[in-house]
Symmetry: D2
Subunit: 314 residues, 4 copies
């Protein structure tokens, strides 16, 4: 059975017809506005009608950045889109005048599920996915099943506290993991070094066009790949926090594989080698248990679409 | 179908016939030695023969404090019993000359499962069990299934790191949760106060018979129940760490219920009220999600036996 | 001998003639601009000429918020005024065509010295001053002498690190004490609670005119004085960090008295009682040593002027 | 004027005649017992009589590991010798029937003073001494004067807290600096690695004669000097904590020089290079201030004797 996956971004939605092997057979997209939730409903309806005209589809999976209700029909809350207790399935079905199965999924869960079914984790039953982008998101699969939690908000891994009294987080708390292991943390730490030790940061400053505020994560990765010592150290520090946090999560979950995705994962072993070293050093019970491997995700931007489609079809 | 549950302690094993409602129909026990693993095999065989003489049983569940293999037949490692990669199922079956189904389970998992099936969490599908005894153990149930992990060593929750560079742990690492939220931590903190602020610790010292090293967790609980301000504060501090760690675990797992068991849970609201306050203050996404309740476990010493039996029968 | 004290603020300078008992005999002021350092020179010269017309003065002390050179003639760096390696003494003397003794002092040192000579610490020889304002500044007096350090930048106490990996500080580092024990920290923590636990923050929100960003430290103090539980808790948390950091500083300095000044000290025992409790609990060697008292500063806004004058005269 | 310096150890006392240049002209010693405080009095009297027979001496300085009273006549408390509010000066004078000037000094202060007057810090006025032995002790000199504090117990630098909720310390508190930057910390961390990552610790285990509990700090230093990667990393980690703590102390004290002594300092740049790097990275105001150098102490075992003598003579 084919299914449609829809990935809702801040300013556009991307949709595709996905077959049972995770292959995308056709794609389309629409521009949207994060404040216009009715417009997003409409755009979902449109891409459904467009794609289902050419393919027979049995379900629609919608990947959304937010808290999704346990019955996978509504968005309880989204940080960047104006959904508040929003009955997304019902609204789209009302437009379509059709009871096609629509399943809403958290986007990180959807992307993790794609990685689990079709990507780097396709050979294991227990996986921890860590998506290191602007923030730190993730997904948990236990014994072949996505861990959604009692209310659908499991795997908010970036908000595990790793430092009591640590960095402030946008969530209102202190010391959240994503304040130490994310692209934002990388840029912030690089900018701090530009202030404190400018002599070490010449290459970073050059890449940023001599404007501290223009520095980005990819600048740091590029400099590190060129061999810039500071950039290498900054990625290693991020990797250390990633590995140490993964060891804590592993004490709870014992995954067979830890998959690292998101834009910062482009740094490859500059990130993952320090992560593996820290994971090794912090893993409880090491020596008396097999150890999870830490690998880079194999699916990229379409993972959310593919995973949402696959979850909807089940 | 009835099943036998066997709970292996350091110096004795307790066994019982358990029906499908979790009721214990008969019990027996044997003394054992932690260094004599063959003697433990023998004792398991004996209690099986004794109990199965009077009841028809379909399976045997063995609850063991240690890392259990993913196929639930062996103990990989146990801190207090001389098992190392020990094929427990096979050894007992060899003695019995019988292929009765024997299932080995981690004791905290077994006890958590009993709480999930028959106890405080019998009405939910997603549970986090925290067993606050000498150490801090636990169990995780997700969507009605016990989370055992890829290699059977999930739910080692006491070794989630809560303080980088924090207290040394017997596991060789620093800052493990159980060094802040366990009976041992309670006693250690009480003893430190006896040194630093003896004027506040008069009642505790009296209960310990004027010997600092004789102080126990129950002494602290008793003093707190009498209203001793230091003891109340010590339990509140433990509760705070318990609630804060539970908030981190909830970011990953989103349980419907958090069940607190173990000897320290006898302190009731002296422990749980501060735990709930800290959990509330630290829970990520609070206000946009339902919140797990934190309750005391309803089953006591027989939970391991009952849970092991129930898991073996499945 | 009388001396003139000049206190340089961001947009004005205040000056006074101070006698040997710390009494201000006359005062004057000028408006200035933080970017116009020549204008500040001119204003200092003017107030000197004005005041020295009526009083015979032997020296001028200038209190400046910044790093002051070891010979007390220049400002190495100031965060809020455009001084960079600025020879303040020489510039003012050039305007005056006069070699009157001009001594530049860090403003927190000057204020601390006033407290030591004429205020709350006038009866001791060893003092730690903690100024809890927007940030956390201070002064150290050891054996009757101001501790200025090798290069004049001692007593930057707010930048002692209290949490590894802790809150980002404007100085480019993490975990600085002033990020936990200052008016800014108080407001930030209050604002976080407005987000996470709005039901507890009703009174604070009301005082802030229903605008989170308008909340100030005095609002928190007012609410605490009315008995608002959240505000009391927020001040107690600040007090705890203050007392714990003071215990660390005391391990190094062993002061007889710890004087707490700055705007947040207006909260009185709502701040100081928790600070004293935390100090007691964290003081190393407690029971084998006398303990410093923690008291509120007795001098207020004129402390910098009085202290600078007194230091200049020596 | 010559003076006698007496260094009290756990099981012996060493004494010497010291001239004004810090040169030892003659030495002697006696065996003592830490529980026999009268015997120590007697031994001090004996070495005085012996040495003053050949040299004219004006004062006696006694270096003692403990809290010394502000008037430098008594020991308030000593962790390893049975002194409790012990009037050491008076007791020795009573034996001698002589009112020779006897000055008691904390041993770390005395050794730091020797380094300041005659050793690595002889050219500066402001010094921080860090003695990295079993524990972490030190001394502070500000503007040419030893900082003794209001009650003589300043410079207990090892008990500055560097990690809230950190390692337990023998003093009853948590997170004391000496739990991260001392020989004991080095050994403990090495032993932890022997448990967690035995494959990395082969050389250390060999040096310890295959007995984990026999491992010592000098073993780690030796292995590091041979190039053993784990040993190098362990010393670097100690160095990092040393440098980070020194940056905090520098925020308070602004020394011109930081002198590192004690047995662990034998590791030289294996310890000091990481310490300098961490100090650089953590120093507040870096770039706007001169920076203290971090150097190895130049005086060795006789520093306490020489410093006590020199302080007594003043």
């Amino acid at each position: 059975m084919h299914a449609i996956g829809v990935d809702i971004g801040g300013t556009k939605i991307a949709a595709g017809v996905v077959d049972e092997d995770g292959t995308i057979l056709a794609k389309t997209r629409r521009d949207t506005s994060p404040d216009d939730v009715a417009g997003i409903d409409q755009a979902i309806a449109e891409v459904y009608l467009e794609l289902s005209g050419s393919y027979e589809v049995g379900a629609v999976g919608v990947a959304a950045a937010g808290f999704v209700s346990a019955d996978r029909s509504s968005v309880l809350f989204a940080p960047n889109i104006a959904w508040r207790d929003y009955p997304l399935r019902q609204r789209v079905q009302a437009i379509l005048q059709d009871d096609v199965m629509i399943v809403v999924e958290n986007d990180a869960n959807a992307a993790g599920w794609a990685e689990f079914q079709f990507g780097a984790a396709r050979d294991v039953d227990d996986m921890l996915m860590l998506t290191v982008g602007t923030g730190l998101g993730g997904a948990i699969v236990s014994n072949g099943t996505l861990v959604r939690g009692a209310w659908g908000v499991a795997a908010e891994i970036g908000h595990m506290r790793v430092v009591p009294g640590g960095h402030y987080c946008g969530c209102g708390h202190e010391g959240c993991w994503e304040q130490y292991a994310s692209g934002s943390a990388l840029v912030r730490d690089a900018q701090a070094t530009l202030i404190i030790q400018p002599e070490r940061a010449a290459r970073l400053l050059e890449l940023a066009g001599d404007e501290v505020t223009k520095l980005t994560g990819p600048h740091v990765t590029q400099a590190a790949q060129e061999g810039d010592p500071l950039a290498v150290e900054l990625l290693a520090e991020l990797g250390r926090w990633l590995g140490e946090g993964a060891a804590s999560a592993t004490a709870l979950l014992d995954p067979a594989l830890i998959v690292v995705g998101g834009g910062v994962a482009d740094a490859g072993d500059l990130l993952l080698a320090p992560a593996r070293k820290a994971f090794d050093e912090q893993l409880s019970g090491r020596g008396h248990r097999p150890e999870a491997a830490i690998v880079v995700a194999s699916m990229r931007n379409d993972a959310g679409m593919v995973g949402a489609a696959d979850l909807a079809r089940r």
